[in-house]
């Protein structure tokens, strides 16, 4: 009898784990008509969430509680309230993973399906249903799901079904195991169903889209291609003046990229063509709500404050663009490398309208495949040089030239195209092993829009716990003298392990607020803010 308990003891290596995280952001808004800050009747707005995760061997479960009382400015007001917005259970047995409840997933690059969260941006299009993931053999992954999609505290009206298969040929086929060229092919299919409740127009209730893809790796080279096709999907997003119900034209997109990498050098070239590929589980949804496809901007992700004044956003109804990047490190001791080596990164990107020809039926228009239209939406050149000046000082110099069609990109009128030059000098000075100071000087020159800006930031950190920062943005060049405003801000924070608290006070200009690399659009504001984050 004691033998039973002994064998039970040695056969069970699993432990029960509980983990989770928490984040809370609150702001106290002061009135400030000078910067155009909206009046906030509640005075204090806050967003908070907490996740709990349970794990026992191959079994996982979790849930998330969110609370917006009321949501911070810059977040969709439909986020109002509190509740459990995410809950799931999953287990894996014999290469089959079953998930019930909420889940996130992506097919390929996400062109026809990406369900993901970006909490600080207010993006969350989680699925709610059943997902199966099966690996029948090495190198083969099959995924299938059926579900509804999250829309703030509710679910969207659509039902989404999807299937994706991916094969890594060198892993699946034994004869290719030692091949120098590694190829992965995949294809995904998404079908969405939404009832047609419109008395006037006939909408397709089932819309199908598919997307094959291929990735090739050989030594220093990598090539990726992904094509997407969507059957007729008239919606609010692709509606036109002539066809307010939406157009019946199918959509397609093609994404290509190639990279070359070697020690000290990296080069990428990418291109994309998009024709009517906005894809959602609700034909009446807009903005970040109920999106199925993910079509990111093919431009550099900026983090310097003034560089976020004119951010590009993908025109899902149609655009064609190119991007190139070069990363290079000049060796220590070489002419351009200097004593400690110098790094340089170059980036170029552009986006244009597609070549459309209007037609006299519900298709709306026809477009030449990969045809470049007459209108330039965006163009940018980035040059960044990083140099270690001494043992304690590292400098980063950046130049950015941007051509920005504000009317098209932001859906406005009267702003035209903005041409701007930005220069940034950033320095990191290590005082000793515990204290360091970082500073930034930024300048934006343009003759359009709000004219020129200057920005300065100083940040002092004491490892491992403290930081203090002060910065100011000044619209000194504005043609309207009363709009030559300063936006000063002071902040401090304390970190211990995975707990962090940060406080700040000051003015925030309207536009893209990037904190820790994540950006969201915010209106102008003046006040105190607090941010608490924790993980266990």
């Amino acid at each position: 009898m004691t033998v039973f308990s002994y064998s039970a003891f040695s056969q069970n290596p699993n432990t029960f784990n509980i983990s989770g995280n928490f984040q809370f952001d609150a702001q106290y808004y002061l009135e400030d008509s000078l910067i155009g800050a909206p009046v906030v009747p509640e005075k204090i707005l806050s967003n908070g969430f907490g996740n709990l995760n349970f794990n026992y061997g191959n079994f996982n479960a979790g849930l998330r509680y969110e609370s917006y009382l009321n949501p911070l400015l810059g977040f969709d007001p439909r986020y109002k309230g509190s509740g459990i917005t995410y809950r799931f259970a999953s287990y894996t047995v014999n290469d089959l993973e079953v998930t019930i409840g909420n889940f996130y997933d992506q097919f390929g690059s996400g062109m026809i399906f990406r369900s993901y969260e970006e909490r600080t941006l207010g993006i969350d299009n989680a699925m709610d249903g059943i997902r199966l993931k099966y690996k029948p053999t090495s190198g083969v992954i099959l995924k299938g799901f059926i579900g509804e999609q999250r829309s703030y505290f509710e679910k969207g009206p659509g039902i989404v079904r999807g299937f994706d298969g991916e094969i890594s040929l060198s892993e699946a086929i034994k004869s290719l195991a030692e091949a120098k060229t590694r190829v992965t092919i995949g294809a995904g299919v998404i079908s969405k169903y939404q009832k047609d409740e419109n008395p006037i127009y006939v909408y397709p209730e089932n819309v199908l889209s598919y997307s094959p893809r291929i990735s090739i790796y050989r030594g220093r080279y990598n090539f990726n291609a992904e094509y997407g096709y969507k059957y007729n999907d008239p919606s609010l997003v692709n509606s036109t003046f002539e066809y307010p119900q939406g157009i019946y034209k199918p959509g397609q997109a093609l994404y290509l990229d190639g990279t070359y990498t070697k020690r000290g050098v990296g080069i990428t070239l990418a291109s994309k063509f998009i024709d009517n590929m906005d894809f959602r589980s609700d034909r009446n949804a807009t903005g970040n709500n109920l999106t199925l496809g993910y079509l990111p901007a093919l431009t550099k992700q900026q983090t310097y404050r003034l560089a976020t004044l004119y951010p590009y956003a993908t025109q899902t109804n149609g655009e064609v663009g190119f991007q190139g990047d070069v990363f290079y490190k000049f060796k220590k001791g070489s002419a351009l490398g200097g004593k400690r080596g110098t790094g340089i990164s170059l980036n170029y990107s552009n986006a244009f309208s597609i070549d459309k020809t209007p037609v006299d039926n519900e298709d709306g228009y026809t477009a030449k495949f990969y045809g470049i239209g007459d209108e330039k939406y965006f163009e940018e050149v980035n040059v960044e040089v990083t140099k270690k000046m001494s043992k304690k000082l590292k400098m980063i110099f950046t130049y950015i030239y941007t051509v920005y069609n504000k009317d098209v990109v932001q859906g406005l009128s009267g702003f035209g195209t903005i041409y701007s030059h930005i220069g940034v000098a950033e320095g990191q000075y290590k005082i000793d092993n515990n204290n360091s100071i970082r500073f930034e000087f930024q300048h934006l020159y343009t003759e359009q829009d709000m004219q020129s800006w200057a920005m300065a930031l100083v940040e002092y950190t004491i490892s491992p716990h403290w930081f203090f920062a002060v910065f100011d943005e000044y619209n000194y060049g504005n043609d309207e003298v009363k709009k030559r405003i300063h936006y000063p801000n002071v902040s401090t924070g304390y970190t211990k392990g995975a707990n962090r608290i940060a406080l700040s006070y000051g003015k925030q200009r309207e536009g893209l607020l990037c904190v820790g690399g994540v950006c969201r659009n915010v209106p102008a504001s003046n006040g105190f803010s607090i941010s608490v984050t924790s993980s266990f």
Binding site: M1, T461, R500
Partner: protein, 170 residues
């Protein structure tokens, strides 16, 4: 028969409650820089400690932290046998820049891609940088968010303790 079953049940219960051991690394599928699937269960270091650091090409403090660790990496490996694994959360917008960027930086450690944030979510990461210290039994013994220059020195001290099997916390 009944007594046997009772003992069996007691045995199972005992080992389940037996030890609130450290959290293990969750089992999640990532991708290598060559586009192949790799489950975190295969990310091992033969009983020596590991550092798992979440980063992105657009996260400057992350790059500063990884550069600082890279400068000491050779010494760290020699002294402790530690393995640094950097997990990129770059999504499809910036993931094609990860390999060229790394080669431009000259990093000597392994990088894996977590493009839809699956591992980030499973390890309860809110924002990057977020770095975990894993002991020889693949358990999380310490974690740290944000980066201030000088943090890497404290990390090295904790790695040394972890390599000896001593407890280490921030």
């Amino acid at each position: 028969m009944k007594k046997g079953l009772l003992l069996l049940f007691a045995g199972i219960l005992t080992c389940q409650l037996a030890v609130a051991q450290g959290k293990t690394i969750p089992s999640v599928d990532l991708k290598t820089l060559e586009g192949q699937a790799e489950n975190t269960n295969n990310i091992r270091n033969d009983g020596s400690p590991m550092i798992i650091s979440f980063w992105a090409t657009w996260c400057k403090p992350c790059i500063n932290e990884l550069n600082a660790i890279n400068d000491m990496y050779e010494d760290m490996v020699e002294e402790t046998g530690v393995r640094l694994v950097a997990i990129s959360i770059d999504d499809s917008r910036t993931v094609s820049k990860v390999a060229p960027f790394i080669n431009g930086q000259d990093w000597e450690f392994d990088v894996f891609l977590d493009t839809n944030g699956d591992l980030k979510r499973a390890m309860n990461v809110n924002f990057v940088p977020h770095t975990f210290l894993i002991n020889g039994d693949r358990e999380v013994i310490s974690q740290h968010t944000s980066y201030a220059p000088g943090d890497e020195i404290k990390l090295f001290e904790m790695v040394k303790k972890a390599a000896k099997g001593e407890p280490a916390h921030d």
